[in-house]
Subunit: 615 residues, 2 copies
């Protein structure tokens, strides 16, 4: 219980010409002689220049100096030359956390000072407190160096200081809790006022004062005496990032006074380690909880379609109104002030000395369903972003500060696709994932000009070359599309860009061709050599369980039915998925986005716990 | 050999109303029909909407279009409706490195695109080119974006581009090598002029032009035709650091032309990965090669002692003369301009917005011998630095930029000790390691005021209380030292500071008390509460194999022999070590340093290879 202490038997205490010694001690005291004496008898033991006693106690003291150890010194014969007595006070100190991740702060876990990934791993975890307990005057709780509501304690990790010993520490001894300068920007520790312990209701934030933070790296904490537990609450302030692996440690030291104004020195230090939870994305295969859209002056038709889909699917639609979105319809980048609230937080990264481009939007930041690649499991899937093509000498990129952040989360190792060939430059313009009942549990859907031309040529072969797409003044026939050599050349180029991404996705997600479905989608290429969808880009869909909300493509009508919708519905039906086509033509497609860009979905979290990953 | 290519059988090529097809191909061409046709017969196969051919070739082409694959289309009966022919050119391309770490650049190692630690691991390695091939007008080779001498190629890692195929690539196709913007600050690639390949002597640096670097992230490389190998040389520019894990990748793509001025698109990309070698320290247990000291106007006595020790031990003494050291005697921070040369480099870190202190010197940066702690091996030992005590609200620290650098090397995971209690603040003022024939192969030596008092009290007990230490006007007796209560209190404080470090070292190096030897050394504490050695600090020694160069302590003389030297020699003799006492009193001790601070040793590298570490 007390640290092993060394007592050198002759430097300070032995009378001159002592040759032998014997030791007696109180029942709770154990000692060991080192180096071990050669004689096996009992008393006395030969004293030599290096003799030391290693002293331990197995029970905490109830009062100060309640145990002792005495050494008798003998000369050549057995006459007693002197006696030295050490008075001992044992104090049990343990700084405790939930190192076995079972929701309970166990007592003195031997692994509490380290952290290991995996189901056989160990180590406490910590949330970044990036939500807001307040619902007005909101800011993220991590931005205030105080407990904003007592409910905020639930967003923190519990830590308990357990002590046993006499009512008071010996004169001049004290306990101090400390963190390093480096960790101070990532963590705060709040305490509990000792008076609050006695209250039935602990409903006042003032009862949970700040103990450690960037202003206080070290603070004395009271020693309560007897068998005591003092509760602390640990708050994470930042996600892992390029310069922060995510591990933080908190130490507690027992300080011993020095004489004559020398600094105190610690004689015992206990240390616990936490890992901050990473930022995790949720793929389309997880069940939705809420769907978000913006209302603008011109998107009534879109809203109507979305409302029908979402309500039919049994989920909740949240509309961000115009006074809040200020005319921005791109729900993937929804104003965060509106959504911030209890258990709904956000994280931002600011770019310095870097150009921010369209590639920094959500829509260019997606995540795959869980996959296994050459035996390596990604039970949380892999993040997918779009960047400039690697051989391009110049091109738009997602900012380095955002890419670094994504890679630092580690648990959904990102894949970089080539999306700069698109005018808007988002990966969600050519790919998405839908759930499937078979194979890997999902299919990758890819936009495919080849599949588009195949469908159009099939219509022509079946004598539907005069079928028209689009409405009124924009209408165009299947024959006209197939005659357009320039459009065909543009789509060959687009297909080669998508094919390159297809190869990367197959390799990085461990997919076969059977895991991929090509959707009939044509593009055209602008004068800047960048592509936009020729008709509403069906792959840019919203996935709500088995219900898909798909941009209505306004394709050629055959027997009164849109041939593109028919093909799409037929491809999805095989997977048990139901398609709803939403008219986003005027309000989104014309502005170079579609359904997915105009919506967002909060999904149920993974049941798989991130700390069980094998890293 | 060529990438698997997909050929969709009906989108572009099938004549209307085709129902069946058959395939014929040249001997070197293989194909697979997907989805696999249900019929097991030979010919013809039913054509359906999704039929695709996956085509591969197992040998490179000798001339362009030397292979072909043809598809015959049939109608309801067996009349031939049409025939489509694909002409094929197979090119074999492999960017190769020494991924199995045997010194040879093997052909197309399947693991060349990833990196794994350990004896069963894989992945190529790269040196930081921080030495200088030039011996005049010196600067580090990594500072020049060119090959400074042909011999400099030996400091780089070889990379080979192997190609097989026809004499020329088909019109418009080309090869391009590329790196990412992020890697460009860490790596350069030099090539070989194709003319140089034919020369018997390749002794001109102009034959090795820069291919990739921060100015050129992507460059076309020639396709040589036939069976060709082109040599490249990869130069590492920076060590791992907080913002650089150490991995860099180099890619080679085959670009396909697009029609009508669209950008080219890559149809094949090969990628290799290197890890930059970490910066590694060499502990006292490794054999010395050279010893360095400074000569100043006043250190003749010290130099004489050092020369005797080093020459007796059979090593080389290099003296840095006054015109070069400009009066600085602290060889641990030796002027790097003098030493820089072939295979002798350096690395520096600049502090921004941070106060640089005495703790940033070598002397506060040491390394342990190899250790095993709770089953975890550190075959390269662990780096040891000194910082402010964790509970201190303010104190001197090693700068964060240096600490971050040390931690980023990973292979000698650092331990932070508390050294700010010392006036100079270096860990080498209270600890060192010496080789030992038994136990863990070494002993940790710790300065110990308790051991010092024990020795002095023993002298007093043996009636040598009037023995004098120091010379002439500074002399003081053993009795006087033992009477000094203030000195005793100061040393109690010092002992408690060392004890705290002793506990950390035991825990972090997995040591028992038997692995530690306490040396009799006293300190005194200045008015700023910081400690300096009371007499020459014997622990601040130079270790040259079995020969130790120890500051001459000028201790109390008993029978004409220094009692401190006698004790020290006796402690070291048990380990087979021989002690030489070097007079550094006036020229180093009085200036708050000792032998170790005034010397430096180049040692043989570890035989253990860092990439064999299990991380």
């Amino acid at each position: 219980i007390i640290q092993r202490d060394r007592l050198s038997l002759d430097s300070r205490s032995a009378p001159p010409s002592s040759k032998y010694f014997s030791v007696q001690c109180s029942p709770r005291v154990q000692y060991r002689i080192t180096p071990p004496p050669p004689e096996s008898g009992t008393l006395p033991t030969t004293l030599n220049g290096n003799t030391m006693l290693l002293i331990t106690m197995d029970t905490a003291s109830e009062v100060g100096n309640d145990s002792k150890l005495s050494v008798m010194y003998y000369g050549e014969k057995t006459e007693v030359l002197g006696k030295a007595v050490v008075h001992l006070t044992a104090v049990e100190i343990s700084l405790d956390v939930d190192a076995d991740r079972d929701g309970q702060v166990e007592r003195n876990n031997p692994n509490k000072g380290s952290w290991m990934w995996g189901p056989n791993g160990h180590g406490a975890i910590l949330l970044v407190n990036c939500d807001s307990e307040r619902t007005y005057g909101k800011r993220r709780d991590s931005e205030c160096a105080e407990v904003t509501r007592v409910s905020d304690l639930k967003d923190m990790s519990p830590m308990v200081l357990r002590t046993s010993g006499p009512a008071k520490l010996p004169e001049g001894y004290k306990l101090t809790m400390h963190i390093t300068q480096g960790d101070a920007e990532s963590v705060r520790v709040f305490g509990t006022r000792s008076t609050a312990e006695n209250l039935f209701y602990k409903n006042f934030v003032k009862d949970y004062p700040l103990v450690l933070g960037s202003e206080d790296l070290s603070k004395e904490v009271p020693y309560l005496g007897g068998n005591a537990e003092m509760n602390f609450y640990v708050e994470g302030l930042r996600f892992p990032d390029k310069d922060f692996e995510g591990l933080i440690s908190i130490s507690l030291s027992l300080l011993e006074p020095s004489s004559q104004g020398f600094p105190e020195t610690p004689i015992f230090t206990d240390r616990v380690v936490f890992r901050v939870a990473p930022w995790i994305m949720t793929p389309n295969t997880l069940n939705p909880v809420e769907v978000f859209v913006c209302s603008t002056s011109d998107n009534y038709q879109f809203l109507k379609g979305m409302r029908r889909l979402v309500e039919h699917s049994g989920y909740k639609l949240k509309v961000c109104h115009q006074y809040m979105n200020r005319g921005d319809r791109w729900m993937q980048d929804f104003p965060y002030d509106e959504l911030l609230g209890p258990d709904f937080g956000y994280v931002t990264r600011m770019a310095y000395n870097e150009e921010v481009s369209s590639l920094d939007s959500f829509g260019n930041l997606e995540v795959s369903p869980p996959v296994t690649i050459n035996g390596k499991n990604y039970p949380l899937g892999r993040i997918i972003i779009g960047v400039a093509f690697p051989t391009a000498t110049k091109g738009r990129n997602m900012t380095k500060v955002v890419q670094d952040f994504l890679w630092a989360q580690k648990v959904q190792e990102p894949i970089a696709l080539f999306s700069d060939w698109l005018h808007v430059g988002h990966v969600d313009e050519f790919m998405t994932f839908v759930p499937a009942p078979d194979k890997k549990g999902f299919r990758l859907l890819l936009a495919s000009p080849d599949a588009g031309y195949k469908l159009f040529r099939g219509l022509q072969n079946d004598r539907h070359g005069q079928a028209k797409m689009f409405d009124a003044e924009e209408e165009i026939t299947v024959d006209e599309i197939l005659c357009d050599d320039k459009l065909r050349a543009e789509n060959n180029y687009v297909q080669s860009c998508i094919d390159w991404n297809r190869d990367v996705l197959k390799r990085e997600l461990g997919l076969d061709d059977d895991d991929i479905i090509d959707l009939p989608i044509l593009f055209h290429v602008t004068e800047e050599n960048r592509a936009v969808a020729y008709y509403p880009d069906m792959v840019n869909m919203i996935v709500l369980g088995k219900n898909l909300g798909i941009p209505k493509p306004f394709g050629p009508k055959v027997d009164g039915r849109c041939a593109l919708e028919a093909e799409m519905t037929s491809l999805m039906e095989g997977l048990g998925l139901s398609c709803t086509y939403i008219d986003d033509f005027a309000s989104y497609h014309k502005l170079l986005g579609e359904v997915h860009c105009g919506s967002n979905v909060r999904r149920e979290p993974f049941s798989f716990k991130w700390w069980n990953l094998e890293m």
